[in-house]
């Protein structure tokens, strides 16, 4: 692969490496390598995160291209949002009242 423009003025920079341990697993961040361009970044990612056959897939991305979001106002806004989560639906007492009114016992747990 030739990339004349990048080659004529190379600059070492950080590339982040994401790896997949086995088929079906999510991509997880492994670490980073320094490289002058994408080609060597891929080779170095393979060396640092795949030389032991410990990964079935790697993603390599220039750190500068990664968008980082950690703003708490966006990710952890203050007002109640429990209606969006399972924990916001506690029905134990209502179920007990409904069963009593119907004269029903609580069903046995299903065999797993």
């Amino acid at each position: 692969m030739s990339d004349g423009a990048a080659r004529s003025d190379p600059a070492l920079e950080a590339w982040e490496v994401f790896r997949q341990e086995k088929e079906g697993d999510p991509m997880r961040h492994g670490g980073s390598v320094m490289a002058p361009d994408a080609e060597l970044a891929i080779h170095y990612a393979r060396e640092m995160y795949g030389r032991r056959q410990e990964s079935v897939r790697l993603w390599v991305v220039r750190r500068a291209d990664i968008l980082d979001l950690e703003d708490p106002d966006l990710l952890q806004p203050p007002l109640d949002r429990s209606f969006k989560k399972p924990g916001g639906y506690v029905m134990r007492d209502k179920l007990a009242a409904a069963r009593e009114a119907a004269g029903q016992a609580k069903p046995k747990a299903r065999a797993k």
Binding site: S2, M34, A35, E39, L40, E47, M48
Partner: protein
């Protein structure tokens, strides 16, 4: 390490010689390039070059293993217990690793030659070797990518990197074709279908390819091989030193298990 099955076919004349040349090539270049461990130009590159060296040593181990089965001996004994003059690696690999440009140049010349050799062995009639060659080719793809990338970077640069590469190629040029030194009993190997074409023909193929590659980067063609008949037998002082190093511990306590 070594295959556990015994070869199905009866011994083929010249097979042991072929295996020895291939194993010695991989052993010597693997050993020699492992000298970069800890001192390569970049930490990441250090790890990469070490992987390449380990691959070569692994290939050597497998090849010595096949030879050991054929001859009823031991892979380590073949690898370690010979005098320097008995090694049959290509003279190209007698050159020390030199600077980074020398290492890349030597690797480039060797990897491309080895790829051509492997192509001519991939469909051979002796299954254990043909199978192993298939595996080697898959591992060598990464070598070709990585070394090819470095060769192009140096060749395509201006100034010092390219100058160093030119110096290295000038030094290595007369020995570059020694990977294709004709084998003893080569006709028997071809007759038996182990080797698809004579080494001379493979060398020609390889030179055609490298000429095309060199032309892209305005590099002069490689000269003909110096002393082609002795391409695998005259090993000089650099190899004698390497041999002294890698046999040092074994010679210190012969017969010991390590």
């Amino acid at each position: 390490m070594t295959a556990s099955r015994t070869p199905a076919a009866p011994p083929i004349l010249g097979l042991d010689g072929l295996l020895l040349t291939m194993a010695d090539d991989e052993f010597v270049i693997g050993f020699s390039d492992s000298e970069w461990t800890g001192i390569a130009p970049l930490l990441e590159e250090d790890v990469a070059m070490s992987s390449l060296s380990q691959d070569e040593l692994g290939h050597a181990t497998a090849l010595y293993g096949l030879l050991a089965e054929l001859t009823g001996t031991d892979a380590d004994a073949i690898a370690y217990d010979r005098e320097p003059a008995e090694y049959r690696h290509a003279r190209l690999l007698d050159h020390g690793r030199g600077d980074w440009a020398m290492t890349i140049a030597r690797r480039y010349l060797y990897e491309t030659a080895d790829a051509t050799r492997l192509e001519a062995l991939a469909d051979g009639t002796w299954a254990p070797l043909a199978e192993l060659v298939g595996k080697l080719q898959r591992e060598e793809r990464y070598h070709a990518m990585h070394i090819g990338s470095w060769f192009e970077r140096l060749a395509g640069a201006v100034g010092e990197p390219r100058d160093r590469l030119l110096d290295a190629l000038a030094t290595l040029g007369p020995d570059a074709g020694t990977v294709f030194t004709p084998l003893s009993d080569e006709p028997a190997l071809i007759e038996a279908g182990v080797l698809a074409r004579p080494m001379a023909e493979l060398e020609h193929e390889w030179r055609t390819r490298t000429t095309a590659m060199f032309a892209r980067f305005d590099l002069s063609n490689l000269p003909p091989t110096r002393d082609p008949e002795r391409g695998r037998t005259d090993h000089g002082a650099d190899f004698a030193w390497l041999h002294g190093e890698f046999t040092k511990v074994r010679r210190g306590d012969p017969g010991a298990t390590w």
